[in-house]
């Protein structure tokens, strides 16, 4: 048996109809006799709730809520103080057999804290002690945790069972079969649209921002191929450009040498020219350096002094003066509104929340805060103070003025050279200017290809907007990989794109395996599980049918499990009957339990409220003799009418040898009349069990 257990006791405190009732159970048949309205349903519901781990609360959210009926409503609370009444509880003590066949005593509590509204479980684990939550052992949880359909089979109200069997559909029977064979989770794993396998696959797909695996994988591979090609092309291009540039520089230098050697015959003029040219070179170099510095400074928002920045700066100062920590914005206040308490510890009221919501509108949203943080970071990391821009501007203007003066002087000196030399020099100058322009262009392109300075790359848009501000991400759509128009030529950027694409390709390869693997496993486990379930159903059907025929019933029917309609009745002419009588249907329910017990490899106590409801005398005898002695432990919750019927039909069933008789009644109640209030008491195997309260008109 994979699950075998019995119930030792149930202790209910301050719950619904009961102030404090502890019922001890024995192996074999236990009969609890109590009036209707004294808590029969509560006993059944609490046991089912303890079996399945589903809290017996009334709003579905683990909170008992304002239902005051949860608390005991009696008037005599002689043994409890007000503090005790702030909690209700139910304690279920069970003897559960472990895998080695040894019995262990487990205790499970369900508690209701009426102050906080909480409803929760606690477990006493043998050898470990108390733990919060529902922690019954694996063989128990595998069969019963969350399996309400299965729990309903072994703990049921006979009147409800008749309704259930009549209404039951094929899928409910199918679910019960999955629960008893512990295959529910297996079917949940392979379910076609929302099974665990499908969910795991879609989680990976979402991570990669893809709608389907094939397109993504194909795109990433093809883009990676293009990036690889672009890197090779640009590496070759940079080599070619370097060599062309060097050649141009060599030609330029030769021409310059020739130009230098074209003397004027005037030694003094020639010397002055040399000095002026040297000075011009120095000025040009200085101009280049200062211009680069200025450009870098201009790229820093701290130096821009634009309107938007000024506003942001002012707002930051206002927040700082108001002692609001850096980074506090609208999201902080929105979160605050959802809390029970303010940061100062005061309880939140609706008016406070309304005020905060209105005020929060004046604060910055997440995007603006991110912008501010970025700007603050730029300021902190800024190596060029604000005034540099003005100083640099002044220096550049001055260099340009100096260059103009120098050029004037040069022109004046050269006019002193003879005309032929001036003409030859003019031709050389034009050729050198063209060469310099070309070298300049080659230098710029080379810089674009080989630069590794992220700031320079971004400032010149050499990454075509692929690298984001965080510096690590790139946008696939902008780099030109899709259509190759105006692609990125910067090798540093391309290599980063290549690295990311490689990662994506490797992941999408995994995704393809994941998809294939999921589909293959869905197929294998699906076929295997369905075949096994078919066999289980056949076995259950056989046992069920045999049990059904063991009880004499009015209608000469057979029963079958039908995939579409659940349990169906078939008459002697092999015609399907819409429904059986109450007695026939209840016998079908008991037969189903027998079938399920066998298929589920379980020995679970049978708990039935009103176990003979709707049965005539003959069927009562049949049910008692056929089903009631087949379980190691059974608990029947009956009222006096059923007691009398059972006593009459099967007197032996309530004998000392065959039963534990438990009477639960109010302490001072009269033996006749309407239900009464007061402390609940119990007695075991007393003679009063047979004489206690028979409804008016039924008394013999």
């Amino acid at each position: 048996m994979s699950l075998k257990f019995s119930i030792k006791s149930l202790h209910i405190i301050n719950l619904r109809e009961m102030e404090d009732v502890k019922i001890d159970f024995q192996k074999g048949n236990n009969f609890i006799l109590m009036r209707n309205g004294y808590g029969k349903t509560t006993i059944l519901e609490i046991i089912k709730s303890m079996y399945t781990g589903k809290l017996l609360c009334d709003n579905g959210e683990g909170i008992w809520g304002p239902n005051k009926e949860a608390k005991y409503g009696g008037s005599e609370l002689d043994s409890y103080s007000d503090d005790d009444l702030s909690e209700s509880s139910a304690e279920l003590e069970m003897e559960i057999y472990n895998e080695q066949g040894g019995a262990e005593t487990w205790k499970l509590w369900q508690r209701w804290d009426h102050e906080s509204g909480e409803n929760y479980f606690q477990t006493m684990i043998p050898g470990k002690g108390h733990e919060e939550g529902w922690k019954l052992p694996l063989n128990f949880s595998n069969k019963l945790k969350d399996n309400e359909a299965f729990a309903d089979v072994f703990a049921f109200d006979a009147e409800e069972a008749v309704k259930m069997i009549r209404k039951q559909k094929g899928d409910e029977i199918r679910n019960a079969f999955r629960e008893i064979t512990s295959t529910t989770r297996l079917f949940d794993l392979i379910k076609e649209n929302d099974g665990q396998i499908v969910k795991v696959f879609y989680k990976d797909l979402d991570k990669l921002n893809l709608s389907e695996v094939d397109t993504g994988a194909k795109n990433y591979s093809s883009w990676l191929h293009k990036v690889d090609k672009l890197i090779l092309e640009n590496e070759a291009w940079s080599k070619k450009l370097t060599s062309k540039k060097d050649e141009n520089q060599r030609i330029h230098d030769e021409k310059k040498k020739k130009w230098d050697n074209l003397g004027s015959g005037d030694v003094e003029a020639k010397e002055t020219e040399k000095e002026l040219v040297k000075e011009e070179d120095e000025l040009l170099n200085e101009l280049k350096d200062k211009t680069i510095e200025l450009l870098i400074s201009l790229g820093n928002p701290g130096n821009l002094q634009v309107k938007q920045w000024k506003k942001t700066y002012e707002m930051h100062n206002v927040m700082f003066e108001a002692k609001i920590p850096e980074g506090v914005g609208k999201p902080f206040f929105q979160d605050l509104c959802n809390k029970h308490e303010c940061v100062c510890g005061e309880l939140m009221t609706d008016s406070m929340r309304e005020y905060i919501r209105k005020t929060a509108e004046n604060y910055l949203g997440r995007d603006e805060l991110d912008l501010i943080k970025n700007m603050q970071r730029e300021i902190r990391e800024n190596k060029n103070p604000q005034e540099d821009i003005f100083e640099l501007g002044e220096s550049i203007s001055q260099i340009k003025k100096d260059l103009k003066v120098n050029a004037r002087k040069l022109r004046a000196i050269r006019k002193k050279f003879n005309p032929k030399i001036q003409q030859e020099r003019g031709i050389l100058e034009e050729e050198m200017r063209k060469l310099r322009d070309e070298i300049e262009k080659q230098n710029t392109k080379l810089e674009e290809i080989i630069s590794t300075d992220p700031n320079k790359i971004r400032a010149n848009n050499w990454d075509k907007g692929c690298i984001k501000d965080t510096g690590t991400l790139f946008s696939i759509s902008k780099w030109g990989g899709k259509n190759n128009k105006n692609p990125v030529d910067n090798l540093y950027t391309l290599r980063r794109i290549q690295k990311t694409l490689k990662q994506k390709v490797s992941t999408t390869e995994e995704l393809m395996h994941l998809e294939t693997g999921g589909r293959v496993i869905q197929l294998i486990l699906g076929i295997a599980a369905e075949n096994v379930m078919e066999e289980v159903k056949k076995d259950t059907q056989r046992v069920m049918s045999e049990s059904f025929h063991d009880v004499p019933i009015v209608e000469d029917y057979d029963i079958k499990l039908d995939d579409e309609r659940g349990i169906i009745f078939i008459n002697r002419r092999k015609e399907i009957q819409k429904k059986g009588s109450v007695g026939t249907t209840l016998v079908a329910a008991y037969s189903l339990i027998n079938g399920m017990k066998q298929s589920g490899e379980v020995e679970i106590p049978l708990i039935v409220d009103s176990p003979t409801a709707g049965l005539d005398n003959t069927s009562t005898q049949g049910v008692v003799e056929t089903f009631w002695n087949q379980s190691e432990q059974a608990i029947f919750i009956i009222e006096s009418g059923e007691r009398d019927k059972i006593s009459l039909q099967v007197p032996d069933a309530l004998s000392d040898e065959k039963s534990e008789r438990i009477l639960i009644r109010r302490k001072d109640e009269k033996s006749t009349g309407a239900n009464q209030k007061g402390k609940m008491i119990k007695s075991y195997n007393s003679e009063e069990f047979f004489t206690y309260y028979t409804p008016k008109g039924k008394r013999e």
């Binding site: 694996l138 990976d204 393809m512 395996h513 693997g517 293959v520 294998i524 599980a529 075949n531």
Partner: protein, 75 residues
């Protein structure tokens, strides 16, 4: 449950052999496939909370690697 597991193991082996005939699984991978399918079945049914997502994912990738990639299985 042990009996159910035994029956499932038998059926898994039978199904995998059937898939070899249809070409979805290569003969040399049949043992590995049966092992992985049994592992998934057993883990899912043995633990109180079923198999963990990460464990399931890794096992399915292993299955995918030995199954025929791109095969329209189950369609």
């Amino acid at each position: 449950m042990d009996d159910i597991k035994k029956e499932l193991k038998k059926e898994i082996e039978h199904t995998c052999k059937g898939l070899v005939q249809t070409g979805y699984i290569e003969t040399e991978n049949i043992e590995e496939m049966i092992k992985l399918a049994n592992y998934l079945m057993s883990e899912t049914m043995s633990s109180a909370y079923g198999i963990e997502d990460s464990d399931l994912r890794d096992t399915l990738i292993r299955v995918g690697k030995i199954a025929k990639i791109g095969t329209e299985v189950g369609q």
